[in-house]
Amino acid sequence: MRGADELRLAADALPAAARSLHEGGGKMQMAYAWFPDTGRAEVCYLAAPGAGRPFQLWRVSEAGALPSLSDCWPLLSWYERETHDLCGIEFAGHPEPLPLVLHEGAAPVAPPLSPEYPRAAAVDYSPQPPAIPKVLGPDVQELPWGPVVADVVESSQQIFFYLGEHILHHRPRLFFKHRGMEKRFQGVDPMLGMVLAERVSGVGSASHALAYCQAVEAAAGVQVPPRAAWLRCLLVELERLYNHLHYFGMLAEATTLKVGGAEGKLLEERLKQVNGRLTGSRFLRNLLCPGGLRRDLEIPYDFVRMLSGVQREASDYLDNLERTHSYLDRLLTTGVLPRQIAFDQGATGPVERASDLRRDLRRDHPYAAYDELDFEVPTRTAGDANARAEVRAEEIVASFALVFHLVTRLPEGSVRTDCRPEPGSEGLGWCENPRGALFYALHVGADGRLARVKIKSPSFSNWRVFPYTVHDTNMMDFAINQASFGMTVAGCDR
């Protein structure tokens, strides 16, 4: 697979390889399975030995069960469960062999991602209660909140075991929004797949499209022209900006700072209007394609002026938030995520950087034009909700600086080059999405169409981590803590 070094391993060599990665200071990123034409499934693990070093793809031909690696890399536990649900692969010794993606009561005729699964057939499903461990004790209450909840939020179910205000144990139940996006990619022309990638998570359209396009370009062995690389950075930084302003609007709203909530969302809207004027799309869609951009962008003459106005207002807004005691009181010491848990459970993005894990794909594994750009990667050590907010506040400052630099120094030239991945080619693409590390692993079939697209979403990673900051806390802090994480459900559920 282009974009990563490859290691072919036998199943019984996996535990030693996992331990060796750990001891070497590396990080496991994700795991998935697919079905090459050979008929036997192949399980792939993506490892990151270190910043500045190439990724590693470990490839294991499956014959029966594989050993679970969750004891060494707890973050793999969800990937193993997902691979079991969607590909039918067993992981021996898994600590929590429960359904994850397909809820209890789902009965597919074959593993949904396998070639035997009849195309466009609905999965037989009769709802069963979730298979979760019960918390026993006198007076312990159980509250399954959702999946339909008030206000305009995505559907998920939050299960609490609690006593009065005290949350004993929390479990998020996701995948109500599972749309089978990875299956939808199968059979699609690689030159059209970015349209699907843009719609996996609506607020991550540009970053998903970028990671996808870079995977196709890796498979085809193609480099985009410089102007395209710079414009791509511009688009994903603009995406980071509106997402982060939305985040502050939601966070202020969660602390019942109504005017603060409205202002954050208004600033988000202003940025979306800037996007609309620049690209024709508020969500920065319909621009990226394998090989570069589908059309060139002309920077409007008043673009810098417009954006400077928003930047000044955003700066005042963040200053005002920082002076508001009622808001700060709710964030300081709330939802503390210790560094070791953040590492073990796979936290990513501003969430991990607020817990002293200094990782950012733009700097550690540069893509597009990031190796030519200077920018800050803010971190904090407190790991509380306030730290997660402060990291994003500084990222807003850094992104504005990047955007101004990018538009004023755009190279001339074409924005697109030929890109045709060969049948049987494979590529890895990645992007630091506003919520964290996003990967697309792509396999082109013998017919030249997509055979498998695996999407590693940062929200999938962070939803796994989130309960560790909720157990043994209180009901009043829950919504604020959740807002401080800033995850999507669509990205996680796909």
Binding site: S155, E198, V203
Partner: protein, 147 residues
């Protein structure tokens, strides 16, 4: 809290003047592309590039081989613009028009869609205002929209 009260009062209203003043500029959406417009008369015989690139299968080509009848179902269209780029004869054009709410799903299956004029939009707003005397609260039941 005086800080935010003063701030909020100073900011005033953020609501736009649409549809009293019609068009994208009044709604703050200048430049935002909506769904493509179709001129079936420009469709070239024997070409099916638009249908081939349309992932949601919003574009259909029906009829015998001499003159294909081209149709765009706006209810399926996701506005990805691939048809605009694929068509060699300009049958699809980009549009920034968004004032074409219809009463039923069926009205989106056939082209052309008629845009409201600014006058029609304002007249409709007056009806709402008279009947509901102020704001119209639309209940939104979320089945899974993105934030």
């Amino acid at each position: 809290m005086a800080l935010w009260t003063a701030f909020g009062l100073g900011r005033g209203q953020a609501t736009t003047s649409w549809p009293r003043r019609g068009g994208a500029e009044a709604a703050g959406q200048a430049g935002v592309e909506t769904l493509p417009r179709l001129d079936p008369a420009k469709c070239t015989d024997g070409c099916s590039r638009c249908a081939e690139v349309c992932l949601p299968q919003a574009i259909t080509l029906a009829g015998a081989d001499e003159k294909m009848r081209l149709n765009l179902d706006l209810g399926r269209c996701i506005g990805c613009r691939l048809c605009i780029e694929a068509c060699p004869s300009g049958a699809f054009t980009a549009s920034t028009s968004f004032e074409y709410a219809v009463r039923g799903r069926d009205a989106l299956r056939r082209q052309p869609i008629q845009d409201q004029t600014a006058g029609e939009a304002a007249a409709r707003a007056d009806v709402v205002r008279r009947r509901f005397r102020g704001s119209l609260h639309i209940r939104h039941l979320d089945a899974g929209s993105c934030n």
